[in-house]
Symmetry: D2
Amino acid sequence: MKVGLIGLGKMGLNLGKNLLDNKHQVSAFDLNPAAVSEMKEYGADGTTSLTELVQSLETPRVLWIMVPHNVVDSVIGEMAPLLAKGDIVIEAGNSHYKESIRRYNELQEFGVHFMDVGTSGGMAGARNGACYMIGGDQAAWDVVEPIFRDTAVENGYFYAGAAGSGHFLKMVHNGIEYGMMAAIGEGFEVLEKSEFDYDYEKVAKVWNNGSVIRSWLMELTENAFSKDANLDEIKGIMHSSGEGKWTVETALDLQAATPVIAMSLLMRYRSLENDTFTGKVVAALRNEFGGHAVEKK
Amino acid sequence: MKVGLIGLGKMGLNLGKNLLDNKHQVSAFDLNPAAVSEMKEYGADGTTSLTELVQSLETPRVLWIMVPHNVVDSVIGEMAPLLAKGDIVIEAGNSHYKESIRRYNELQEFGVHFMDVGTSGGMAGARNGACYMIGGDQAAWDVVEPIFRDTAVENGYFYAGAAGSGHFLKMVHNGIEYGMMAAIGEGFEVLEKSEFDYDYEKVAKVWNNGSVIRSWLMELTENAFSKDANLDEIKGIMHSSGEGKWTVETALDLQAATPVIAMSLLMRYRSLENDTFTGKVVAALRNEFGGHAVEKK
Amino acid sequence: MKVGLIGLGKMGLNLGKNLLDNKHQVSAFDLNPAAVSEMKEYGADGTTSLTELVQSLETPRVLWIMVPHNVVDSVIGEMAPLLAKGDIVIEAGNSHYKESIRRYNELQEFGVHFMDVGTSGGMAGARNGACYMIGGDQAAWDVVEPIFRDTAVENGYFYAGAAGSGHFLKMVHNGIEYGMMAAIGEGFEVLEKSEFDYDYEKVAKVWNNGSVIRSWLMELTENAFSKDANLDEIKGIMHSSGEGKWTVETALDLQAATPVIAMSLLMRYRSLENDTFTGKVVAALRNEFGGHAVEKK
Amino acid sequence: MKVGLIGLGKMGLNLGKNLLDNKHQVSAFDLNPAAVSEMKEYGADGTTSLTELVQSLETPRVLWIMVPHNVVDSVIGEMAPLLAKGDIVIEAGNSHYKESIRRYNELQEFGVHFMDVGTSGGMAGARNGACYMIGGDQAAWDVVEPIFRDTAVENGYFYAGAAGSGHFLKMVHNGIEYGMMAAIGEGFEVLEKSEFDYDYEKVAKVWNNGSVIRSWLMELTENAFSKDANLDEIKGIMHSSGEGKWTVETALDLQAATPVIAMSLLMRYRSLENDTFTGKVVAALRNEFGGHAVEKK
């Protein structure tokens, strides 16, 4: 199948190579000429003009957008006037599912199919076998299934149906991921504060072999400790890129009690600060009623 | 009534004066001669010998222990051989209720009554009117009620009955206190991070006048902000002295879901650290699967 | 001052009487004739026509809206064409602060002042002395301050300034309220599960007299137990009306770690359910790996 | 190697067969003759007399205890007088690590080695390849390593060293497990409450193929949904058997902030109840201050 690939960042480049490895044709676009060159050297067509890309493809087109979620609308906006009825737009970044539903509806007015695809597995997955969660029209799905089947790991794609359902699944996937990662982190923190002197790499290794908590995240934990035995070189600052927050916000809207995912998110925010105003207020109160000393700056 | 007052720290001295103000007689002990002198100047008898104190009192004695919880056993151990059947030992510090039940049983074998008393209200309360939660024998309570009634604020004492029930109530009181303080602190943290530029003292003041959350803790919050408008001078390090932890441990034993009190405690522990091992593990994992940058030390 | 009072529900009626008690004139509107009659009997003018109300007032008008937050926009929409430059619209319900900022900006285009007012203290407060948190233009504030001063408890009003700042404060106030209530509830749950047999009304009473956690909420707790000693007659279903959720959502937007307020909200949601899907999944997993029995429906 | 296997419950029987499959000799004890018979049919020696078992083995003995943690002390107490210097006692159940340190010290006085072993992987692991976390003396470890190597999955055993360090690791392993399971459960609860109609088995399946959260627990989730597509047949009551609680208690002792593990535990407790006293108090308070209706029983 011929795929118009829009966005050649870390994920897009790896995906493009994955498609080519699997005998699909790739026509790629990025504003960055170096990325386009790299893609072309691997066997794709390429251009730094989005208009040119779209116009070069025969209809019905298959356009795969792999860009940061905050530029998806501008990409679609630029493409929209050029699209023809029956074209299929795949958006495989980390967009909010409500945005995807809106985009689906907007493109539907033009007769264009919009598919929202959550992609998991990181860069290595994009390159060698990703995991896809997919929403959008059945008619479009019947056309594009081969490119997902071929670039996913075995059984690593799931067409869930309704518009938005792919990005919703990916959002919840990331919420679970936040909780799992925090659970692992907390466990090692208990080890670290304990009276015992563990070799954390070996701990992660044994937990990856036969234990109930064996998992890819534990394998990554093992890798991380193999490089820096006590993680002495890094700070425990936990950034986040949105999906965990969206999961909690969605849970609040659905009145779903998700304390574990919520706490994993709040502790990320807590890690961004050296000190907290909450702490100051509580310390001041303890001083007020009990004369407990506060620590001065 | 004549009271043998053991321990003249911040709480003991204030209580002694409170007793004297209310026409009770006080015979006081402390190892610190300066504290004994201060108490004597206010009208008490005093000694730096615990043995002398006990021997000087006529039976049935009323002995009020007001010492740190980690020295209660040594005080009782030193007194025990000197006590007579019918004596009443009041322990009004922050002891674990299970310790109080143990002490009750130990002294019961000597025919000595043991009363466990949780005291709230801080130093000002001890001086001018405290709040007491009291467990122990009814027969002893009938004897000592006047000294509690006279040194408490109006309606500020409650005889709960069974041995340990006083310290249990005080423990739970402190657990609630942890949760309330954290709620107040979090609220001000949201204000502090908001787009608005509030005068926190005035906020606390309006919340103390007619609002649902008016409370003594909010009054103390107002006081604290009146002294340091943005709490710039103090660190948000939240120490703890045990009762909150006991509350959570007890809740676990009772299988009671107490997430608010538990989180208020865990955030105190979190505030003791500049960085966390949990954070390091999570940051390392984000780097492993997503190539997200870690912050180096 | 003459006040056009829009909305004669529980809060509006009490406020109208409060205004009249304090020598202000009230011209009231509600769709419900019975409420209008009650207000007129107490000394107000009244009408069931919003248009008539607005047209009957001389400019610059002072219009106080006291309606459910979901009908505020329709009320303002109906009034807007009738308003004159310099009119002052006070919205004293529980609106989201972002809505208030939007309304402020919309009315500003007409030269109309919009004031967002958070009101605390419940019905009794509206009747006898409320607590107000107020945002909006200084020029408008200078005009309307007397009606707030007169209907609030002493020191029970605070003009915070910027548009939205009043409803923001009220939102956070309610967030703190959620946390405090949960802390109190959890404390009594620990008592209830304990080996001791407490009289909860007496516990609440002693905690209201001299203790660190004395508060209006604890007084209400005492009231509640005085009517139903063990709360046997009611279910522990905790509904919510939005402000707690808004507080948590705002905290997420501000990356403020507010675990106590967040957990108090999530436990409310949990209380709406008899069973949870989370629980089913965990129970099924325990069965899968450990052969632990599940409970069948 | 010849192993005296004490306890032929689900885990012990599977382990015994595993040992025999791997060419070790097993001399087994259980009070239940049927279990002993089953073990003997598979090739072991067996007896219903613990004394007989111990006396039948040549010194230095290797005794593997696989019994519920609450009977470990009685087993050891019965064996102790029969043991000889140099014997090795392996305790591979779910004991608290502090109990294991105590037992280590007690047996050390007799010159007997005590090894604390956390075993993960469930019944299938015990049968076909378990995961072991091991504490105890190096000298004993050098003797018994072959039986762990042979009955574990590849790389599925870790000798951590100090007495108690094996059971400590297992405890923390289970704490992580609690957090991971809750994260998975909460994720599916969000799906279940969402506007989408997912096939949960297929969701779990795609998440097991290439996603970041692929894990054995997610495989078990897939299994569970394959048997009961919406878990309609089971209740969401989450029992617990101690290790999660121990993890949280240990975290409190170490002042380690572990909110995710703590909340996963508290939600298990919450699931044991139909209604809560916390909820009753909060509902009553909402009624008191705001007139919000309570739900009557």
